[in-house]
């Protein structure tokens, strides 16, 4: 399936876009998606850490993704 993945902060710089289309297996967890993303964008591995949000909520690694989900890459936040 094709995920539309939003990127913010340094992740947007790494992707070169605010949003990318990214192909993943149909049964795909957050953890698997991160592995695949890091293969395509190795610079992600150099981040201090980064989280994934699904439909505006922080996701856990074992969570499964759906094609219609709003997926977002959340690099270390630094507001305030």
């Amino acid at each position: 399936m094709v995920l539309q993945i939003l990127a913010f902060g340094i992740a947007k710089d790494i992707f070169g876009a605010r949003q990318i289309n990214f192909v993943v297996p149909s049964q795909c967890t957050v953890e698997t998606m991160k592995d695949l993303l890091e293969e395509r964008f190795p610079a992600l591995k150099r981040l201090a850490t980064y989280a994934v949000a699904i439909n505006e909520v922080y996701a856990v690694p074992a969570q499964y993704l759906q094609e219609k989900d709003e997926v977002a890459i959340i690099p270390p936040v630094s507001g305030g």
Partner: protein
């Protein structure tokens, strides 16, 4: 009542005060985060803030709900800038009114401490010789 906003225009202290003041308030505490002229020993020129706005608002709402479950609060105001903020410009305002001043102080600090941990907002610092996303790398 709660006010939460993420905006690309100047934040006004008075907007916060007018929202949180209440006839039964015994204490009002306001935190203002401003842009510093120094970071990592270098001279900062400006900052840019980027937010995942819908999620930032819902994460702030969660923090406020947790604060309200810990302390007896009257009104809570949280406003955060996006876009370019110059040195001394206001990046964030948190305001809390409560019957008791201890609750106002503690809840205000709880909210800013948590906002910095979980709310999807990112800060890019601009120096004379370049720019970087804060906290991105180890």
């Amino acid at each position: 009542m709660n006010h939460i906003s993420i905006r690309d225009t100047d934040l006004k202290l008075d907007d916060c005060y007018q929202f949180i003041a209440a006839p039964d308030a015994g204490g009002i505490d306001i935190f203002v985060g401003t842009v510093r002229n120094k970071s990592l020993g270098k001279t900062a020129v400006k900052l840019e803030f980027e937010a995942y706005e819908k999620m930032a608002i819902s994460e702030i709402a969660k923090i406020i709900e947790e604060a309200r479950s810990n302390w007896d609060l009257i009104n809570v105001f949280v406003a955060h800038r996006t876009g370019t903020v110059e040195v001394m410009g206001i990046a964030v305002i948190i305001g809390v009114s409560s019957m008791h001043r201890a609750a106002a102080f503690e809840a205000c600090r709880f909210i800013i401490d948590n906002l910095k941990q979980t709310v999807p907002i990112w800060k890019k610092e601009f120096f004379d010789d370049g720019a970087h996303w804060v906290s991105a790398h180890p």
